[in-house]
């Protein structure tokens, strides 16, 4: 007699995640974010955050000394790396390497691979940042970590409910007129953006982060007034899904994409130029084996 199992809740998944090695992600991201937001923060604060995670510290140093930056001198400390590469570069490097850890393994599905999801996440983050900087002349500091984490909910579903997640992917493969997150809602009762929202909230990340992840498919529902972040995240995500490093393609939200562009006063052609340049960079990283 099969026991009737209570359907899994978002809360169950959050608790499971916090008891797994994914949980160390939250602390690091929160700390790095604090540094970005605190005007008095110094290079040494970033240094401290990175150095308290020895494997991350080693990864950052290894990457700093890799061919990508082609430095003439060997970087021996995080402090040194910040001086040579710049604060933002080191910060992004640390975020990439830390968040990437979670995507750097797992099942290979016919249509899905965690590594592919990571490539997508990285592309979304870089695209979003570049849009902010090149079109809106803003720093883009905040959007980068949010974009990296926007699909973290999928990782959680895959990690703790692999059978059901595979079921979602199978259904999506047979009928790609459906939105992937709609299938999730059917199977789980919620989708990966809701899981990501709960998780970021649990990790005590800022409310606008949580909000952007929650509404990255539906930016018009964002609860943060005047925030551009959900829109840019949505725009970058949409572009990547459709023509860039994609995970799924979603077609029938094109009108929303146009609305979002209009809302921010952006021009699709200009955005696509930015996106395509960015993706070239991502593909280059992939070729050189530097995604993780």
């Amino acid at each position: 007699m099969a026991r009737v199992k209570r359907p899994v809740t978002i809360r169950d998944l959050v608790v499971k995640t916090n008891n797994s090695n994914i949980s160390s992600l939250g602390g690091i991201v929160a700390k790095i974010n604090e540094i970005i937001r605190n005007p008095n923060a110094q290079a040494s604060d970033l240094m401290t955050v990175i150095e308290t995670d020895p494997p991350l510290c080693a990864k950052v140093l290894r990457r700093a000394n890799s061919a990508v930056y082609a430095l003439r001198q060997e970087v021996k400390s995080i402090r040194h790396a910040i001086v040579i590469l710049g604060f933002n570069t080191v910060r992004e490097l640390a975020l990439n390497l830390k968040v990437g850890e979670v995507f750097d393994n797992g099942v290979v599905h016919k249509k899905y691979e965690r590594r592919e999801l990571w490539k997508h996440s990285l592309a979304v983050a870089m695209t979003a940042k570049n849009i902010l900087q090149m079109e809106l002349k803003a720093q883009g500091d905040d959007i980068y970590p949010v974009a990296l984490l926007h699909d973290i909910g999928s990782i959680v579903l895959d990690e703790f409910e692999p059978d059901k997640f595979t079921e979602v992917l199978d259904i999506y493969e047979q009928d790609n007129t459906l939105m992937e997150w709609d299938i999730e809602k059917k199977i789980f009762g919620f989708d990966h953006s809701a899981v990501g929202q709960a998780l970021l909230k649990e990790w005590k990340l800022p409310f606008d982060f949580v909000d952007a992840v929650a509404y990255h498919h539906k930016p018009f529902l964002s609860k943060v007034p005047n925030s551009k972040t959900p829109y840019i995240l949505f725009i970058a995500d949409y572009l990547c899904h459709n023509t860039g490093p994609q995970f799924f393609s979603y077609n029938d939200v094109h009108h929303k994409f146009e609305q979002a562009l209009e809302k921010l006063g952006l021009e699709e052609k200009a955005i696509r130029l930015i996106a395509e340049d960015t993706w070239q960079a991502v593909y280059k990283l992939e070729e050189e084996g530097l995604l993780f």
Binding site: A43, S44, I82, Q133, M134, E267
Partner: protein, 473 residues
């Protein structure tokens, strides 16, 4: 045409967009660089701060280290100096102590030799025909002389222990025989003070053990003598008990208890100290050197024991100590047979023919004394005054035994012995050394010089009888 224009227009538009992007990026990057510069500056400042802090710490450290080095080297010098002084003092003290003990040992010797002469002659005098008054004088003389000898023996023992010259012998002993002997010896003293002497002997004690008979006897004599001295009209009890019976080692508890005047609690510890009796007046009242208990204590400690006393003023005292003795491997029966054989031999000796003796001795009194003792044992005694006379006598006559003093003028005993050994028949000659040096080691020197046996002076009647008995066998 229109197409080309459109394419150019399109390209122009893209270039415009790209230009905008580059310009925007430049301003963002400028800001970023500004931030980095600020960061670099703060890092530099931090480094500078850290550097000056380091400099400070380094200076402090150098200063402190220098100070410590100076302090330590100063202390080391003082220590070296003190050490040298201490070494000097220690050397002086050791030399003084050795000199003192040697002096005491030698002095007691020098005193013992004439005293023995006096005592020996007095003994002989007592055996002549004397009237009652004369007999009384002689007996008093003997008594006083014996007391003096006892005191001198105590001092000699004590200085030997102090000089580290006293060694504990390991021979076969029978504790019961020793205890009975001591009791027999002390009986007359006990009688003098109307004391009853008793022995309680545990039958579990093995007959033959390994120990130093002389020192055990001395300990028991000291303790019983002490008990007699402080008890009148009472009981003195010697008890020897085996503590456990499941081992080859005999762990024996010795107890000497009396019903005498006892010791006040506050003085119990003091009584084992040198030159101390319970109080000054005790010495005047009861006599003694105050060395007896101290020697006893040290002798027991030399045998790995520890003496204790339980006492109460007016209610007697009990001295007790535990000594461990190895069991002798010799079988009891053998010892018994040997004893019987010795007894028979002794009896035979007394009826044997005259023994010829050459007595080599420079001291006239000792000559006389030894001669008397020997003659009483049926010996024909000839005298030689020194080694050379002894050698000459040996060449003329044959002797059953030669008693040879060691220290003599003209030719000493060692040389004389060596000379005789080289002469015809000299190897077979029985030569018994007489030596006044009672220190351990003399025996070895005598035997090494070629002498057969060894007798410590003062010459005792029994020792001479034993030797004579052994040659009669």
């Amino acid at each position: 045409m229109k197409n080309e224009v459109d394419i150019l227009k399109e390209e122009n538009e893209i270039l415009k967009i790209k230009l905008r992007h580059v310009q925007n990026l430049a301003s963002v990057v400028e800001l970023e660089h500004k931030k980095d510069l600020e960061n670099h500056l703060s890092v530099l400042l931090e480094l500078e701060d850290a550097n000056s802090e380091l400099e400070k710490i380094k200076k402090n450290l150098e200063y402190t280290v220098q100070e410590k080095v100076e302090e330590v080297s100063e202390m080391a010098q003082i220590l070296i100096k003190t050490n040298l002084e201490l070494e000097g003092l220690l050397k002086d003290a050791k030399q003084a102590s050795v000199a003192k003990s040697e002096f005491l040992a030698n002095m007691s010797h020098e005193i013992r030799t004439p005293l023995n002469g006096l005592l020996g002659m007095a003994d002989l005098l007592a055996e002549t025909n004397l009237d009652i008054e004369q007999k009384d004088f002689v007996e008093t003389m003997i008594l006083s002389g014996k007391s003096l000898l006892e005191i001198i023996n105590d001092i000699l023992d004590f200085s030997k222990i102090e000089a580290g010259q006293l060694k504990i012998e390991k021979v076969e002993i029978d504790i019961k025989v020793i205890a009975n002997g001591v009791l027999r010896l002390m009986q007359s003293k006990a009688d003098e003070r109307q004391n009853t002497l008793k022995l309680e002997f545990d039958d579990n004690i093995d007959n033959l053990l390994i120990g130093d008979p002389v020192r055990i006897q001395q300990i028991l004599i000291n303790l019983i003598g002490n008990a007699i001295k402080f008890t009148e009209n009472g009981y003195i009890n010697l008890s020897i008990e085996r503590l456990e019976t499941n081992n080859d080692t005999n762990s024996l508890l010795f107890k000497v208890s009396d019903t005498g005047i006892g010791i006040a609690a506050e003085n119990v510890k003091k009584i084992f100290e040198q030159f101390s009796q319970e109080e000054g007046s005790t010495t005047r009242k009861f006599g003694g050197t105050g060395l007896g208990l101290s020697i006893t204590k040290q002798l027991i400690e030399l045998m790995d024991g520890k003496i204790n006393v339980v006492s109460e003023k007016g209610h007697g005292a009990e001295f007790f100590f535990v000594l461990n003795f190895e069991k002798s491997t010799m079988i009891k029966e053998v010892a018994q047979v040997a004893k019987e054989v010795a007894q028979v031999a002794k009896e035979v000796a007394q009826v044997a023919e005259s023994i010829t003796v050459l007595l080599v001795e420079d001291n006239k009194i000792n000559q006389k004394l030894a001669k008397k003792i020997l003659e009483k044992q049926n010996c024909i005694v000839e005298i030689a005054n020194n080694g050379r006379e002894a050698v000459e006598a040996f060449q003329k006559n044959k002797y059953n035994i030669i008693f040879m003093d060691c220290q003599m003028p003209v030719m000493d005993g060692f040389e004389a012995t060596a000379t005789i050994r080289k002469l015809d028949g000299g190897n077979e000659q029985l030569i018994v050394a007489l030596t006044a040096n009672a220190m351990d080691g003399d025996k070895e020197i005598c035997l090494a010089a070629g002498m057969d046996k060894f007798l410590a002076k003062p010459i005792k009647k029994q020792a001479i009888i034993d030797i004579l008995t052994s040659i009669n066998k």
